[in-house]
């Protein structure tokens, strides 16, 4: 290595290390707080206990059951919400009539926080699986409709005209122009919908009749004042939300590879 280049520098490593300082301090502060009296320990549960709780949950199979139930509901709800959102948004984008009929209803509920709908839903639809999946579907429906609407609206009209001059059939128009054109927005919608649906799923379970599910796990943890289990749940839900987003992003990148512009 000639000396014309700057010598090996610790700078990048040093910068990395700096990033770890604050987390380390926070963890230390937490451990210190947890060494207090019983009342403190109730809330600031020592981190090793959190680890132990995770192991305990995994071993008893409880984690698998609850996680599985929540994931199952979320998948169902997401599928329903995304499909309906796609279709609804597309209809509103392509047909003014559909837009006039559909948009008022859409906007009416849009600004109501979903958890606020639960008291209504539980009376009309009970608190079983249907109600839980329905709310998740709603959580996915709204961003998906907006994304679908925006995406299709934004398709360059020149391409549409081009397709028409080539006498493309309706199906062809959709397949070759509209959907590919809207794809980035559609993926953005999915990217928004997925973590939101997951979080709605787990939080709404807190207000519904608990059955299997992460929300039920949190309810029981509250009952037993198990802050360690609660922390496991928070970390788990976060990790999954992040993971799901990352996965969707990966898929989106793959699917949009052929585009040479964003």
């Amino acid at each position: 290595m000639t000396l014309a280049k700057p010598p090996f520098s610790f700078a990048p490593m040093r910068r990395r290390a700096r990033g770890l300082v604050v987390p380390a301090v926070l963890v230390a502060a937490w451990q210190y707080a947890s060494s207090g009296d019983a009342a403190h320990q109730y809330a600031f549960v020592p981190l090793q206990q959190v680890g132990a709780a995770l192991v305990e949950l995994a071993r008893s199979g409880e984690l698998a059951t609850d996680l599985g139930a929540s994931l199952r509901r979320t998948t169902l709800g997401l599928a329903a919400g995304i499909v309906f959102g796609l279709v609804f948004g597309a209809a509103m984008a392509r047909s003014t009539l559909a837009r006039k009929l559909g948009e008022p209803a859409f906007q009416a509920l849009r600004y109501v926080p979903l958890l606020g709908l639960i008291p209504l839903l539980s009376l009309w639809a009970g608190t079983g699986e249907f109600a839980k999946v329905f709310i998740i579907a709603l959580a996915a429906f709204y961003p998906m409709t907006t994304a679908s609407f925006d995406g299709l609206r934004r398709v360059d009209p020149r391409y549409v005209e081009l397709a028409q001059s080539y006498r493309l059939t309706r199906a062809g128009l959709w397949r070759d122009v509209l959907i590919p054109g809207a794809l980035p927005d559609l993926f953005a919608g999915v990217l928004q919908a997925v973590p939101f649906a997951w979080i709605t799923a787990t939080s709404s379970e807190l207000l519904f009749n608990a059955g299997a599910g992460v929300g039920g796990l949190m309810q029981n943890a509250q009952a037993g004042a198990r802050a360690d289990v609660l922390l496991v749940c928070v970390l788990g839900v976060t990790a999954l939300a992040v993971g799901m987003s990352a996965l969707c992003e990966r898929i989106a990148q793959r699917a949009l590879r052929w585009r040479d512009h964003a």
């Binding site: 019983a38 009342a39 109730y42 809330a43 008893s60 199979g61 409880e62 059951t65 609850d66 139930a69 539980s122 009376l123 009309w124 639809a125 009970g126 608190t127 009749n209 608990a210 059955g211 299997a212 039920g216 309810q219 029981n220 509250q222 009952a223 037993g224 004042a225």
Partner: protein, 368 residues
């Protein structure tokens, strides 16, 4: 908060129960020659504790589910039995919603929510009383210096609104010349309330026997309970049925009522006390907690499970109705007499030959 069942510990008492079964079945096979249409399914809501996807029922319902007698009796009429578990966090609300939208026929739950649902226009009837009731406790953080409710005036109290023990709390306040508005009431469900008092976030917490768990964990202490109060201050839970169902299918209602009376009879026998305690402690609540709930009781064990419609019962519900009006929880009057349906229990007692097993004397009319 009573929970359920581990079959292994129940083997001996269950065998006794099964021995009585043919006898009971014979008495239940009453003239079924009526041309009633029968429902396809009987749905009974029951308080349940669920963990990891497994659900465990509370109290008498656990027994009835275990021995399957009701299931078989209903099956003989081509009717299915469906238990609807309801989580302890919000029993009243969930059961009331279920009665309102017609998704259940029976429910084992508490007095105040039952009054609330009737005031809202959905009518239910009290089919089988659940005994003298459960104790309620006032818990404060372990380090608190409060000795009574008076010391907590102006402070924060966790009290789940609309739950039966709210009425007991109001009686405690009235006894001490206090009002609900003298406190900052936090409407937290029992789990959140327990956590809050343990962490010292609220200064008092009013709840059922889960109070003992807090004592055991050294995070709370009990400064008052209904053990030192008149008997009818206890919170009550009974078997309720939707008025519609009772009108349309009195036979099936009788079937269910008789089963529950029989269960009460089984529990009330002193030799079964231990087994029953084990059932309750098989989930959620440790055995020591359950034992303490039932310790030092003025009423003998047998009488604690009486399903009789006594004047004390009627008086209790008058109090509950009055409280709910006064606290602004309901605005429509409820006539207590339309709530009670004593005929099913009388018939059940005759069918089971248990007339006179429980005391009907004025000694139970109580302590007002």
């Amino acid at each position: 908060m009573k929970h359920t069942l581990s079959l292994a510990s129940l083997r001996r008492p269950l065998r006794a129960l099964f021995a009585a079964l043919p006898f009971a079945a014979a008495s239940l096979a009453a003239p079924a020659a009526h041309a009633d249409d029968a429902p396809k399914v009987v749905r009974i809501a029951v308080v349940a504790y669920s963990s990891g996807g497994k659900t465990q029922y509370a109290g008498a319902s656990a027994l009835i589910d275990a021995d399957k007698s009701l299931e078989k009796a209903l099956a003989a009429r081509h009717v299915k039995l469906q238990w609807v578990p309801v989580s302890t966090a919000a029993v009243g609300t969930l059961v009331n919603e279920a009665f309102t939208n017609g998704s259940i026929d029976f429910a084992g739950y508490g007095d105040l929510p039952s009054v609330v649902v009737n005031a809202s226009g959905t009518h239910t009837r009290l089919i089988v009383p659940g005994g003298v009731g459960s104790n309620t406790y006032l818990v404060v953080p372990a380090g608190s210096t409060a000795k009574s409710i008076v010391d907590l005036k102006g402070k924060r109290i966790a009290l789940n609104r609309g739950r039966p023990w709210e009425v007991t709390f109001s009686k405690l306040l009235a006894q001490n010349g206090l009002k609900l508005s003298d406190f900052k009431i936090y409407n937290l469900d029992p789990q959140a309330g327990a956590a809050a008092v343990a962490a010292g976030r609220v200064d008092g917490f009013f709840t059922l026997s889960d109070a003992y768990s807090l004592v055991d964990k050294n995070v709370g202490k009990i400064i008052w309970s209904t053990k030192t109060a008149p008997e009818d201050w206890k919170m009550r839970a009974e078997l309720w049925a939707s008025d519609d169902f009772v009108r349309r299918y009195p036979d099936v209602t009788q079937l269910v009522a008789t089963t529950y009376v029989r269960a009460a009879h089984w529990i009330s026998q002193p030799q079964n006390r231990d087994a029953y305690v084990k059932i309750l402690s098989a989930s959620g609540q440790p055995e020591s907690v359950v034992r303490r709930e039932y310790a030092d009781e003025a009423t003998p064990w047998k009488e604690q499970w009486t399903p009789l419609f006594t004047p004390a019962l009627t008086g209790h519900y008058r109090d509950v109705v009055a409280y709910s009006r006064q606290a602004g929880l309901t605005s429509t009057p409820v006539d207590v007499n339309t709530l009670l349906a004593p005929t099913f229990v009388s018939t059940a007692l005759k069918q089971l030959g248990l007339d006179g097993y429980w005391r009907t004397d004025a000694a139970r009319v109580a302590s007002r």
